[in-house]
């Protein structure tokens, strides 16, 4: 039997597993999470009195369907939760599970690794109380917890409005929503956004409901600083008319769209190509997620497309595996699914314009602001290194010299900003300064995995421990 491994048990991974099991295969499904669902469809932990479907609103139906699908197939797959896939070497995936090392040999691998928040260094963004926007939602869905009591939602993302609505429903005070993209830019993106009119109107509905509830919404702001000493106490911003405003708060959720987790794809030998709209490097794949070398990508880890697109691309990638391994495919209308993906991705490209990555903010970023949270490397240190004689002309060299991107997160939260700063300082196009190469292990591993091999000694979460 064809041995297929799927990495990720979010909507893309679950859809892929569904197609494969329906055709008689029994894939290995590796997931770092405790329970299936990924970030978007995180389940409340057992015993939590949270009405997740009420919280999810319009997304509840997809949530329910995704989890029902998983429940139906879980006995036909080799499901490995709390397992970190940390490297791919030829046709072998390296993982740790319960603190012990494991390898999985495969004939084909579907990478449905998802995404994290795209972030931007801002003065004070390392203060306690500043969390990513996606993280704020995850905390609410899984633990029924709010990141604080009086919260500013800021950045540029359609999720600002959804998250604020959810937080408000759960009792948080929404101090304000600060969106860095001007309203005019949003209006200009309407054409592409009409590719998914239902989602578009729903988004406008969230905005209107928040306004009716008296929540202040500012478009076209420049985020100046998150102020505070022991933790965040206020957000300072410049409003679109030019005045400086300070809003007291005890927590901040910040996000600028998503950043695909492409590290495993890169280690598997997939070519990454620069994408002009997202200003990111993305795995190069055909319309079905085929990357060559028996590697397939699906979901937001391939190209940000949202949960619906993730499920469809998971289906297409699994179908491509079946086709490539000469297994007869039934019940999948590929042409229709491809049209659906194209439409949803057009919508996401519209979103990427309507909620733009404000890289120009980096031009005025103060030298003392930390760009690399892990290693504590400031914008000034990066600029000084870049301006020095014989200074680096691409980001991997910059990393070698400054340690920016060398910490435990492996550049997940600083690499984009470091690349933009490099391009700006050297007056080069962004694609000319390269991207930080992925390195195994893609996340920290416990030192004792092979020696000890039990969870108690190797880190209590079982998936990782400090390097």
């Amino acid at each position: 039997m064809t041995r297929v491994t799927i990495v990720g048990a979010g909507p893309a991974g679950i859809a892929a597993a569904h197609v494969l099991t329906a055709h008689g295969l029994s894939p290995v499904v590796i997931d770092e999470g405790l329970r299936p669902g990924g970030q978007i469809y995180r389940q409340p932990r057992p015993g939590l009195r949270l009405d997740i479907e009420a919280l999810l609103g319009a997304e509840a139906e997809n949530y329910r369907r995704t989890h029902a699908t998983f429940a139906n197939l879980k006995d036909r797959i080799d499901y490995r939760p709390r397992t970190l896939a940390w490297a791919i070497d030829d046709r072998t995936l390296h993982a740790i599970q319960g603190g012990a090392a494991a390898t999985v040999d495969f004939d084909a691998i579907i990478l449905a690794t998802g995404a994290t928040d795209r972030t931007l260094p801002i003065k004070g963004w390392t203060l306690p109380g500043v969390f990513t926007l996606g993280g704020a939602q995850v905390l609410l869905k899984e633990h029924g917890c709010l990141i604080g009591r009086r919260i500013v939602f800021c950045g540029s993302s359609p999720l600002l409005y959804l998250a604020a609505k959810q937080y408000r429903a759960m009792g948080a005070e929404i101090v304000a929503i600060l969106d860095t993209t001007p309203l005019a830019t949003k209006i200009a993106a309407t054409g592409d956004l009409m590719a998914a009119p239902g989602t578009f109107w729903r988004g406008l509905g969230y905005m209107a409901a928040l306004r009716r509830a008296g929540v202040a919404i500012h478009h076209g702001v420049q985020l100046r600083a998150f102020d505070g000493t022991a933790g965040v106490e206020a957000v300072r911003f410049r409003a679109s008319r030019g005045e400086e405003i300070t809003l007291p708060c005890d927590a901040v959720a910040v996000g600028f769209g998503l950043k695909p987790e492409t590290q495993l794809a890169e280690l598997a030998g997939v070519e990454l190509r620069y994408d002009q709209v997202y200003r990111q490097w993305l795995p190069h794949a055909d319309a079905d997620g085929r990357c060559g070398g028996n590697v397939y990508v699906a979901g937001d880890g391939a190209t940000v497309g949202g949960a619906q697109a993730a499920a469809v691309t998971g289906t297409l990638a699994a179908r491509a595996v079946l086709e490539d391994f000469k297994i007869k495919v039934t019940g999948i209308d590929r042409a229709r699914l491809r049209r659906q993906v194209a439409r949803l991705r057009r919508f996401q490209r519209g979103l990427a314009r309507a909620f733009a990555w404000p890289m120009d903010a980096l031009r005025t970023l103060d030298d003392d602001v930390m760009v690399c949270r892990c290693e504590g490397v400031s914008a000034g240190e990066l600029r000084a290194s870049l301006r020095a004689d014989f200074g680096p002309a691409e980001v991997n060299r910059l990393k070698a010299i400054t340690r920016c991107g060398m910490g435990r997160c492996q550049g997940r939260f600083c690499a984009l900003a470091a690349a933009e700063l490099t391009a700006q300082t050297l007056r080069l196009p962004l694609e000319a300064v390269g991207r930080l190469r992925a390195q195994p292990p893609v996340k920290p591993l416990p030192l004792g995995i092979n020696l000890v091999g039990n969870a108690a000694a190797a880190g209590l979460d079982g998936t990782s421990a400090p390097a």
């Binding site: 770092e32 405790l34 970030q39 932990r45 057992p46 015993g47 939590l48 009195r49 949270l50 994290t116 928040d117 390392t126 203060l127 306690p128 109380g129 500043v130 969390f131 990513t132 996606g134 993280g135 704020a136 995850v138 905390l139 609410l140 899984e142 633990h143 029924g144 917890c145 709010l146 990141i147 604080g148 009591r149 759960m170 009792g171 948080a172 022991a230 933790g231 005890d250 927590a251 987790e261 930390m370 949270r373 892990c374 290693e375 504590g376 910490g407 435990r408 997160c409 997940r412 939260f413 996340k443 920290p444 880190g459 209590l460 979460d461 998936t463 990782s464 421990a465 400090p466």
Partner: protein, 100 residues
């Protein structure tokens, strides 16, 4: 001391106790270590290369900002670690193993 996070709904999970710098903190079965500590405290750790306090950031196992020391010398990622009775988080530092 007031915690940073606010529990918006009740948990049916059995209450359990952990220690933070030797002081008892109430948690619930099913909490992540991050939730358990930050429901009662302001931060999780001191950053190695500055004097800053950190309290996590991405909350989904990617940024690695929420690593904490346990009193037995282990370090664990608080947002993906399930809390267990008697866990002892050391924010102030382990005796004989000074933090910067």
């Amino acid at each position: 001391m007031n915690g940073r996070l606010m529990r918006a709904v009740v948990s049916d999970g059995a209450p359990l106790r952990i220690l933070v710098d030797g002081v008892e903190v109430q948690a619930y079965t099913g909490d992540s270590l991050l939730v358990a500590v930050l429901a009662a405290r302001n931060a999780l750790r001191r950053h190695e290369f500055s004097n800053e306090m950190r309290a996590g950031f991405c909350l989904m196992g990617a940024c690695q900002d929420c690593w904490v020391w346990l009193a037995d010398g282990q370090r664990v990622r608080a947002c993906t670690t399930v809390v267990a009775e008697g866990m002892h988080v050391v924010i102030a530092g382990v005796p004989g193993f000074p933090l910067p």
